[in-house]
Symmetry: C2
Subunit: 197 residues, 2 copies
């Protein structure tokens, strides 16, 4: 259209968000322009505020606005650590009310194609925690894909000498899914991990 | 998760964008937190900057950072005005290179259900323009839905006494679409508006 530089800039910023293309970014930008100046100011302030206030928990690596996140600060936790790839995985697992352990965020997985080795993710502090917190079990809850599996195996090999039980999330058919549309690998895992009822 | 107030606030802000639910908003917020402080600052500045700089063109009502937008300022325009609902419709129509007229943005359509009458949209200045600019034809390019059609008819009745030709975008099957999946109303319009080849 009529090339407005600052509009272009805003559209480009929105396009940088995950999963947002040029058209969606434009939609967001146009929407913002129809909002009041105060609302836009508020939105911008919320961004800066969040970025300034939120950092990684020094224990588990999850997002927090305190030194130690509220999950790590919980009293009477079980000595179980659930290792995940990203903070959003913590959000997902926190919805499962019956887990009372703590989390450990790797901030990535081992991925040779992207030149990401064990030293590029948050594994070292996991080792420290196991000693300090007397962790008995580590549940590796990385995604069930190639990189997630590789990272899980790496962590298992690393921790076994320390006498910690290392487990992995069960794999099988998801609740509410239909067998007809379930992929062969998932079905094969579901079959081999079958349980007596 | 661990209720971080400023994160909640940012997620809520993102949720206010059109078509963005809680989960997508969370994804955007988490992504922003992984960006550098400078990048986030830049994004926020782009928002405020765009909102401060961009306003409506005093002639056509489109977004612009000048007094008159670049389309209205073009020399040797045809005396044809294309009336649209929103600025993003101008963007869409500007991609059609062979239209050399100007635009007029209504900023809405007549919608009794939302209590929006003719006085709530940018129609008055269209009447002024027709006299001042010697407009010969008005193409009403509001969306082909109930409100868009009603607005088109209202504008046509308003302008006919002024001796202006009022036209409407042609309706028919879209390029590349499949007849099988085209709705009955569209097919009926396409049939009744058929052209000799």
């Amino acid at each position: 259209m009529n090339q407005i530089d600052c509009l272009e800039r805003l559209v480009n910023k929105f396009s940088s968000l995950p999963g947002v293309g040029k058209k969606t970014a434009q939609r967001y930008a146009y929407f913002l322009l129809t909002q009041s100046a105060d609302d836009v100011q508020d939105f911008a302030a919320a961004m800066i505020d969040a970025k300034q206030t939120i950092h990684y928990c020094k224990v588990c690596g999850n997002f927090t606005d305190k030194e130690v996140c509220s999950i790590c600060a919980r009293p009477n936790k079980e000595p179980v650590v659930c290792v995940v790839k990203e903070p959003k995985d913590v959000t997902a697992l926190e919805k499962v009310r019956d887990f009372n352990g703590s989390f450990h965020v790797l901030h990535g997985v081992i991925n040779p194609l992207e030149n990401k080795g064990p030293n590029d993710i948050n594994i070292k502090s996991l080792l420290t925690r196991i000693g300090e917190e007397g962790i008995k079990e580590v549940i590796v809850a990385t995604n069930p894909d190639v990189e997630g599996e590789a990272t899980a195996i790496y962590i298992a090999n690393l921790l076994k000498p320390l006498g910690v039980t290392v487990t992995r999330l069960a794999q099988g058919v998801s609740m509410g899914s239909e067998l007809e549309y379930t992929d062969a690998v998932t079905l094969s895992r579901a079959l081999s991990n079958r349980k007596q009822i």
